[in-house]
Structures are given as C-alpha cells and as structure tokens.
C-alpha cells in the first residue's frame, strides 16, 4: 500500500502493474481530471500544492484503512503537484481484489478520504484573469457567514 506524489504525468501503466495478482479477479481505477469549469466559473488551468510530509502519512493511513475495511489485494494512490491543464490527470487510485465489489468500494473510499483529509490545495485560474484557492477564497471573503455550501 503506497501513497505518493508526482510532479510529472502519472504513469498509470506502471502503477497498474504493481496491482497485478494471480488471485485478483477485479481491478478498479479512478482518475480525477481537470475540468474546464467549477462552480459556474470557467477554469483555464490549476496548480496543486501539498504539505508533503504530512500528506504522505495521511495518504498511507487512508490506504491502510481501506485494506482493513475491505478484503482487497493491493491499492495505490498517486497525486499530482504543480501546474496542470484542462483534461490532465490530477489524481489516480487503483485497487485490485478477488471480487469486484470490494475493489469498487475501496477505490471510492480512498478517493473520498483523500479529498477530505489529505493536506493538498488547488488553485484555480479563471478565464477572466482571477484565481483562487478552492475551499478557501469564499470562506475568507465572508469569514463570519460562510455557509460551506460549496
């Protein structure tokens, strides 16, 4: 079980090979792609920044929790850092297991937890020249009244 960062495009073929297992019948992978809009704004590109020393520990804890919770064979997660363009892959999760149900469940668990717990930040650059840190700018714009509906 390994969580890692990549500053260049994620090599999914190599990562997938690490999950091969003669006893595995199912393999599920998730890729997060950079969309051209978010919350009604047109996005041109992104930057990801991580607090890597803590993020790596938290990522490993998520993979260990997935392995404890679901009877899987292998799981990996790789997250990009740095500048990304539309359609680039921001994050990859792969899980192999004996039966497919566990691979789906574990893969979804891992990406959900990564998005909520791992200290990684995303700055969006918009077509009007603005930019902003996702989940931060609106909070900071209205710190006493933020409703976290975003």
């Amino acid at each position: 079980m390994r969580f890692s960062f990549a500053s260049t495009p994620i090599d999914t073929a190599a990562a997938r090979r690490a999950l091969l297992d003669a006893g595995a019948g199912g393999y599920v992978s998730f890729e997060g792609w950079v969309r051209n809009f978010n919350e009604g704004r047109s996005v041109l590109r992104l930057e990801y920044e991580a607090f890597e020393s803590l993020a790596l520990k938290e990522g490993e804890r998520i993979l260990a929790a997935a392995a404890a919770r679901f009877p899987i064979k292998h799981a990996l997660c790789i997250h990009r850092v740095g500048a990304l363009d539309i359609c680039d892959m921001a994050v990859w999760v792969g899980v192999s297991s004996e039966h497919r149900g566990e691979a789906f469940d574990a893969c979804r668990f891992i990406i959900d937890e990564v998005k909520h717990r791992v200290p990684i930040w995303k700055k969006e650059h918009y077509d009007n020249g603005d930019s902003g840190w996702v989940n931060c700018e609106r909070c900071s714009a209205a710190p006493l009244h933020h409703d976290h509906s975003h």
Binding site: G32, L54, I120, W121, N135, C136
Partner: protein
C-alpha cells in the same frame, strides 16, 4: 523560544513566505496563530484551519516546545 512555521497555499501567499523562524512566548498553537495573524493579517480564522506540529496533526491547545515546526492548515482540496 524559537518555533519554525511553514506556510502553504493561501496562508503562504498571505504570509508572503513559505517558512519563517519565530522567536515567541506563545505556549500553544492558538497563541502562536494569534500572534502571527496580527503580523500577517490572515483572512482565515482559527475555526477554518487545522494545525500540525512536527508533521503530524495537532491541537490548538497543546504545549509547544522550542524547535517545534508548526503548520496552519487551510481547508484542503485534493483530487
């Protein structure tokens, strides 16, 4: 005592640096944050941040020791 502070993302931009060494009497991360907020004018409050001490999640009220590294963690957005 000296405390190392690292900044990421919005906090880094508002502090104007990615790290600094602070000579402080702050006993806890909460005290340290209030001191640095007065200096740098962070837009996020403590209720919107988490804190890490020495690359592990910590609490606002734990006791700081000389040489500790503190990070104020804004809302995350991985994936």
């Amino acid at each position: 005592m000296h405390i190392n502070v690292q900044y990421f993302a919005l906090m880094r931009e508002q502090a104007g640096r990615s790290q600094e060494s602070v000579d402080t009497q702050a006993a806890t991360p909460a005290d340290l944050f209030d001191e640095l907020c007065a200096r740098h004018g962070f837009s996020l409050g403590r209720d919107q941040l988490k804190v890490a001490v020495n690359s592990e999640f910590g609490t606002w009220t734990q006791t700081l020791a000389a040489g500790d590294t503190v990070v104020f963690i804004p809302p995350v957005a991985g994936g």
